[in-house]
Symmetry: C2
Subunit: 310 residues, 2 copies
């Protein structure tokens, strides 16, 4: 039997075909055409099966990650794709032409499951945070994805952690984690603090979070301060999570996390300051699967469901 892990993004759709033991057989991408997502996706899968001489009976199921608010398989709101109340499972089954086994979750939740599944004992309580253009995340508790009553499980970017800068967030509120710890937030902070600290950074419109991170590694005073502030906001979030769901592991992913050990060390330092003593031993580590976390998560979730049934 094979399982498919699918990660629908705004510009491309990642597809992975996995063996039943979780090993990847093949992986490819197709461009996202907003009007034809399900047709393109199912056509690509059916062609692949044909090419590999496989039948649909050889496929245990499909796991799909969707970039939007998901609730019990329904995409409530999916800005990038213009979807409102779309039944993903139904649309996929219609397109592929049979009543397939399909699990659908928010893409960051799927990615969280993928990262968490790398060490099985930790599936009991893991928080995954992705620091990208925005800040997303996923929470795994009791081995299950926390989707939430309104599909907002793991929307960590909108935790209010700041009363000082009060930057406006895309959600309409101020002080969200995302306004400080995302790539966008890091650049925003850099411009905001430019007159308070000396810097060798070229403060032009095209400034990237990576440039700020690199400058901080080279001890640029402004960049160091920006990274500290971003990590402090993140650490406040982690400390709050440590006294609510109290996970055994935090996993930090997303483009910003490419700064690696340097970033991790600063997050750890700030977390040690922010958390209560009993939460100090919570592990914090960098994501390992990176861009493939979604398809691996979808695969791992299907395999887990298969084991539960057996």
């Amino acid at each position: 039997m094979y399982v498919f892990g699918i990660d629908i993004g705004g510009t491309s759709i990642k597809i992975g075909c996995f063996y039943e033991d979780g090993a990847l057989k093949h992986q490819w991408e197709i461009p996202t055409r907003k009007e034809k997502v399900f047709q393109d996706l199912s056509k690509s899968i059916l062609k692949y099966l044909d090419f590999q001489d496989l039948r649909i009976e050889d496929v245990y199921g499909y796991g799909i990650g969707v970039p939007g608010i998901m609730q019990s398989g329904i995409a409530k709101k999916c800005v990038n794709l213009g979807w409102v109340d779309v039944d993903i499972r139904l649309e996929f089954c219609k397109a592929i032409g049979y009543d397939a086994r399909v699990y659908v979750f928010n893409d960051a939740n799927m990615a969280a499951y993928g990262e968490a599944s790398l060490s099985k004992e930790q599936l009991d309580s893991v928080v995954f945070i992705t620091l990208g253009t925005g800040v997303g995340g996923g929470i795994i508790l009791h081995g299950e994805i926390v989707e939430g009553a309104y599909g907002l499980g793991g929307e960590i970017g909108h935790m209010k952690v700041d009363d000082f800068y009060q930057f406006q967030c895309s959600c309409g509120k101020t002080g969200c984690l995302e306004t400080l710890a995302s790539a966008t937030g890091i650049v925003r902070l850099t411009f905001h603090l430019q007159n308070q600290y000396p810097t060798k950074l070229h403060l032009v419109d095209t400034l990237t979070a990576k440039e700020v991170m690199d400058a901080a590694k080279n001890e640029d005073i402004l960049a160091v301060h920006v990274v500290k502030e971003a990590c402090k906001a993140l650490a406040t979030s982690l400390a709050i999570l440590s006294v609510t769901i109290n996970p055994s592991l935090f996993i930090i992913g997303g483009g910003v996390s490419n700064a690696g050990e340097f970033l991790l060390q600063e997050i750890q330092n700030q977390y040690n300051e922010a958390c209560i003593p009993l939460a100090k031993n919570t592990k914090i580590q960098l994501a390992k699967l990176k861009n493939n976390a979604g398809i691996y998560g979808a695969c791992a979730y299907l395999i887990k469901k298969k084991h539960e049934v057996e």
Copy 2:
């Protein structure tokens, strides 16, 4: 079969004997003698069984709530009782003289389970917050108590929600929810703001949160402002929880919640301000079981476990 719900407190131990369908048969209390908790408790239960002509074979099990940090049945730290790393199940079984079925959780977590169990469909995702001398709580997700990797699940009082007053918390940090929304916090806020708002309150050492609440109901300007600030801090916590675990229901309990609908309305108003639009429909309600939530929760948890096995 019968189940026992037990709630160990600093001054008394509540004991409830329940029928298998969850109905209470008898309930009583014994004083807490720190050195003899397990002896006194088991003696009281055995005497009751004897009095009722019941055998230990008639008891399905015991659920115990403990006022401290619990982790997999071990009381890691229990300040009121002076316990450090006490194996509650083991001590109870030794005292009662047989290898009983025992489930142990933090008392607020047990109470959360009790309040959540009142409506079965809501056991999937409920957050219970108790506003007492301190602020405690419990989180129920996927029908299970979230104990946390270090026993800190539901320690909602230590969510950092304030950067403005920065009152010192018992945990060593500043800005914790508990510093503003507990009974102690409400009194502290009243004194802190006394010179900024007119009041008819007698600001003496014995001032209670109830007096502040009552004054607020009578539109005392200082008291109204204090209640607003306390509710704002609480609402910030709820808004954060709504984008992390995203429960379907918040339940507000503890002594402060005796202020009733007046308090609930203010919490609801502040929550509507604080949360993101998609989280607005999350229900907020007052606790119903009050001081008995712990023993009912322990009973409900045992019954659930019994059903899982059957």
